[in-house]
Amino acid sequence: EAAVTQSPRNKVAVTGGKVTLSCNQTNNHNNMYWYRQDTGHGLRLIHYSYGAGSTEKGDIPDGYKASRPSQENFSLILELATPSQTSVYFCASGDVGASAETLYFGSGTRLTVL
């Protein structure tokens, strides 16, 4: 069964600190995505990747960086965390070149920036 695992499940960070959210998938999918979920906004795309070594900006990339060191792993990095980045973050994987294919989501990371 397709699996996307995120860590940590919960994270409390201080303003100005560095935060790294990790995502691992065992689906062998080329595409991976980072979304944030906020009440009233649904999910919004931060960064995505077409494969190892690639990262692309999504709709709201400011304040975030991404890293895809391997097919399985995709990280989201907040170099200088701010309270506005308090949110729930979801990672997902999907098949390349198949626009109507299913995305598989992790269970999310709840980030609180104080």
């Binding site: 997902a92 626009s99 989501f105």
Partner: protein, 114 residues
């Protein structure tokens, strides 16, 4: 630019009643359309998707949705809801050729009362 609107933030129905969750989209051509469900403390799971052909699509757990190009809508329906259907439902679209970069609506929280 494309957008998805879910006009109902919350819907409450009685167990056994029929259900319709509304979704309107804005896009210049025919998009790919999806409904995802999020159960408490979990990631999103695909319910159903439309990308071509019959405008009525069947999904998991007896859900179905109807694509209407004239109304720019993709409403989700179920004939008889169960308490376990209580969750948040997201409508989403992607542009053909944009891989799986989804644009989500804000979500509708469904509460099924006994």
């Amino acid at each position: 630019a494309q957008s998805v609107t879910q006009p109902d933030a919350r819907v409450t129905v009685s167990e056994g009643a029929s259900l319709q969750l509304r979704c309107k989209y804005s896009y210049s051509a025919t998009p790919y359309l999806f409904w995802y469900v999020q159960y408490p403390r979990q990631g999103l799971q695909l319910l159903l998707k439309y990308y071509s052909g019959d405008p009525v699509v069947q999904g998991v757990n007896s859900f179905e949705a109807e694509f209407s190009k004239s109304n720019s809508s993709f409403h989700l329906q179920k004939a008889s809801v169960h308490w376990s259907d209580s969750a948040v439902y997201f409508c989403a679209l992607s542009r053909p050729g944009s891989f799986n970069k989804l644009t989500f609506g804000a979500g509708t929280r469904l509460a099924v009362c006994p």
